[in-house]
Symmetry: D2
Subunit: 340 residues, 4 copies
Amino acid sequence: MIIIMQTQAAPDQVQAVEDEIIRIGMKPFMNPGVERKVIAVLGAIDAKKADLVEHFYSFPGVERVDLISHLWKLASREYHPQDSVIDASGVLVGGVQAVVVAGPCSVESEAQIIDIAFKVKESGATMLRGGAFKPRTSPYAFQGLGEEGLKMLAKAREETGLPIVTEVMDTTDVDLIAEYADVMQIGTRNMQNYSLLKKVGSIRKPVLLKRGLGCKIRDLLMSAEYIISEGNQDVILCERGITTFEDATRNTTDINAIPVLKLWTHLPIMLDPSHATGDWRYVGSVAKAAIAAGADGVLLEVHQDPRHALSDGPQSLRPEQFTELMGQLRRVAEAVDRTI
Amino acid sequence: MIIIMQTQAAPDQVQAVEDEIIRIGMKPFMNPGVERKVIAVLGAIDAKKADLVEHFYSFPGVERVDLISHLWKLASREYHPQDSVIDASGVLVGGVQAVVVAGPCSVESEAQIIDIAFKVKESGATMLRGGAFKPRTSPYAFQGLGEEGLKMLAKAREETGLPIVTEVMDTTDVDLIAEYADVMQIGTRNMQNYSLLKKVGSIRKPVLLKRGLGCKIRDLLMSAEYIISEGNQDVILCERGITTFEDATRNTTDINAIPVLKLWTHLPIMLDPSHATGDWRYVGSVAKAAIAAGADGVLLEVHQDPRHALSDGPQSLRPEQFTELMGQLRRVAEAVDRTI
Amino acid sequence: MIIIMQTQAAPDQVQAVEDEIIRIGMKPFMNPGVERKVIAVLGAIDAKKADLVEHFYSFPGVERVDLISHLWKLASREYHPQDSVIDASGVLVGGVQAVVVAGPCSVESEAQIIDIAFKVKESGATMLRGGAFKPRTSPYAFQGLGEEGLKMLAKAREETGLPIVTEVMDTTDVDLIAEYADVMQIGTRNMQNYSLLKKVGSIRKPVLLKRGLGCKIRDLLMSAEYIISEGNQDVILCERGITTFEDATRNTTDINAIPVLKLWTHLPIMLDPSHATGDWRYVGSVAKAAIAAGADGVLLEVHQDPRHALSDGPQSLRPEQFTELMGQLRRVAEAVDRTI
Amino acid sequence: MIIIMQTQAAPDQVQAVEDEIIRIGMKPFMNPGVERKVIAVLGAIDAKKADLVEHFYSFPGVERVDLISHLWKLASREYHPQDSVIDASGVLVGGVQAVVVAGPCSVESEAQIIDIAFKVKESGATMLRGGAFKPRTSPYAFQGLGEEGLKMLAKAREETGLPIVTEVMDTTDVDLIAEYADVMQIGTRNMQNYSLLKKVGSIRKPVLLKRGLGCKIRDLLMSAEYIISEGNQDVILCERGITTFEDATRNTTDINAIPVLKLWTHLPIMLDPSHATGDWRYVGSVAKAAIAAGADGVLLEVHQDPRHALSDGPQSLRPEQFTELMGQLRRVAEAVDRTI
């Protein structure tokens, strides 16, 4: 950690900071002669000392505190240099095979989910997605079928063998959803719902953690750290678009996040082009970009009849479009030494 | 609602949209001669039909669906033309008096919270804030004192008479917090935690709803609608900065949100300059701007010794700075025909 | 064009709008029965009538004016359905072959530029880039060699046969630069320097137009329209990252822009991963994503010794890294039926 | 300057950085024992050494380079501790009196500009604004009257005594505009048109420098530095809204920028609520906020008949609205010990 004093900091302000560094059991080290007083703090500043940045920033005369190290530890590449490969009921996420999770936004009926499960499986999807508990911007919009939806997903898994990914929105639903799901999804709006993160951290089921719309890559990793620090190491990260001034698409896909995350963390990273663009016309292009950039897989919304989907129709592919895209994705995957 | 077809939409695609409009009990109305086919949909599109936009957007050949009306209803100025004035245990929010909620970020001890409560009351604060359950980016940072903290807040209220505002982070804590708090705060990270919104909507206690960092003004109102639609009309909105490319301050205060919200909703609007700037040196300036712009009050972090605050020290005012600022705020309030 | 009145608009306000529509030679068409008064305006609203939106928005009682059509015309896919293929001194941009423009940020010496030109050509680059006039954030930073730099670029072209791309910053330099360059680049900071756009529009040389950091896709197309409307149809668009809250990378690559632009315009689209990420460690990943997403080429900064580059060293590849990346890009290009 | 090495940096990479520091005449200073190698660079890193950050960032093994000091010098508060007060043909900007610059977006006719000049003067405006050269997003929109417009502005000044502010868009127009204008405005789209900045820097006329839509506060100060470093110290900064995800208003007013700039620079700061909101209904509220926050003045668009303005009608106040707002602004100014 490095503490940068204001140009006009008084000697006793500098002294107060040095005294405090000693008080907490670390060693101050003054850098001579630079434009401003700069104090290096010697001693390990691990993730457990996250509060120290704010602590020193509050001292009079301090301009800025620079942690140097990242605040996540268990999620860091340094802590765990090899790529983590997560076993989701037999499907490996983070290995050579790029994973394709496909299915409708919402589970609508047993017939629908079983039918689409067979269709996406046939085209090569490796997992089935479908929401039973749906976070919707409007309280009047369809909120999902709840436990009934979970049962339908389980039936679809039974019939097709595809592991299922479904969202959990509330701490009180975690145990129920963990009974049915192979992967528990934390949605974008709950990425910083710390109660929920802690709860899924206490369960032994992989978690798919979606990036919050207004959250930085480092925030995503801090949320992953919440889960891992509770004992659950099976966290799959998911870029799904961020909020920017560009309104031609619903969100802006942060494709840079793929190589950045590959550098900073050992956790697998997927990308959801359906939510990241909000328009099925752009999904294929961005899905191919994701695989080319090094993502460990994609989530794709597929619906038999997007016109009559109960949610997110505009961004859903029809099964035949999905089949065509799968052929293209396979070629791109091969070009970057992956399989699909 | 207006449906705009793609330039190259085929006649049978236009027909399919018209048929569907009739099927759902509304009337299509084709606008003649404009560059693209545009279909007006006759019939009331109230908030309960929020799904229709997506529904029609999924039809082939549709370029865009424009709802014309806002999707919130109970929160809208049209539904309730007069300003709502919310009674928070005797303090009126949304009236002539601009409300000042002051106190530390976190409750740290009984002595601390009682001492600061007396201090801010003396300078004119009308409510006391303090976190007992704290959402922190790092799992290793101080997470709050929990129920012990709530008891300390209650003690401070007993001694000073100031109503208390405190955050609720999880559905399972709502009942507990409602027992102690005069106003339940939904924090920025939980603005779209719909389970939590529904739960506080079922309680008869005012809610202070903070805007999410990456959320639009219209999203904030949809979240308010969640609460009101469950039966709780006492929602106080709070602007607290949004996430932008500017990094000179922690967040960017969206001062425009004040007049926009005054136009769109009857709910009172407060502003939190401490979080919106992240730096005590800018708090006073932005607090004055908030009152001048028409906000119904401000939330200000005040701590006896920001250097030793357990959280958010850098943005906290010392009591003497708070006192000075209160004098300035009173003058600005008078200049816009308010009192403090 | 559609004009949406405020809910509380008075009948005479509606009448005034209708009268004005007639006055300007168009036909008003009132939509019956929808929640608000909505007036369709019949008659062609082409790009020449861009001012009409603001005009009607200024009328009392008007809530919103929706143009329906895009404001660009000559740049639109509707006006020119086929992809434009631009001939840059023999190199075709926008055809089956994806184009790789490579070279240093700044021209530093004749030996340097000739050496790097040979190196990138050998690895398969199709054009040479290099700045002689440099826009730099700091007035004290290296500003480029000016005309001397142009002469060095010309020498490098002569020796290698690679067409050259170089930036023009000021109207007074356009004629000079047009003498030397095969493609004139408009940099991100000048995307809305309309005097400059008009000037390059009057020259018969292809223009590479880089997107402004804070500019929407539609703004980029309006700037292209400026150039085309002056008579120069050879505009190559370039995505190079936008400004967002994410600070892990210098800018955020808007990969969505590739399929959006492919839908909206016939002009070729390139992507500059060096500026869009600002870090050579991420350049390869994003370059592959660009080609997979359908970009017509990439711009890549390559420098013999990035440590001693006079500008933009951190984002430059070394020649051997460039060679390796070219091999990867070729494979990705083939996977999407392109060549490199 | 501080250079932070990557965790896994090799000893010879650290050595190479140290050698380079010595080579350029400075002194390296290694901080012992912190998590990563951190090298402090001793010696003055003034604005002239702006390139050093990139230079060292390009060395292998370097994670980050932190300049500590700001890159602007002449514009800094440290260089010039007192507030600069700029004399614009007799009107002092940056003193106790907050300045109100009012007038139409575009000059439309001599009668119009003279009439509005008298009206705004009567209500208390201290300067007249009006565009003769207009930067418009669409090439088909009204582009201004050019030199004719300048003459009309001069006539209005002659009749009313109000100094005039008008925009310059191109280096070739600077001399012409300097002949007529009292203050030359650099518009938001040209904030980083460095050729233009240098040119106005060589003239002895105050410059009103508007912040670019996608530009940080530090970029604004670097652009000011361009002007000052050419010899023209009379730079007035102007916040006019930035580009964010919020679309309820055309731009987002960065009110935080006012106190940040007051801390970082001695230059006066104005705010333009008309462009920052894009809607006359929000202008008054944000103008009051600006004055309360400490801005040295506001720019307000006023038009006799916004419905028939040739540009920016929706954000223009009518003269009677302006008069009313002036009364309110005066009260707010007094509340913060300013006059208007």
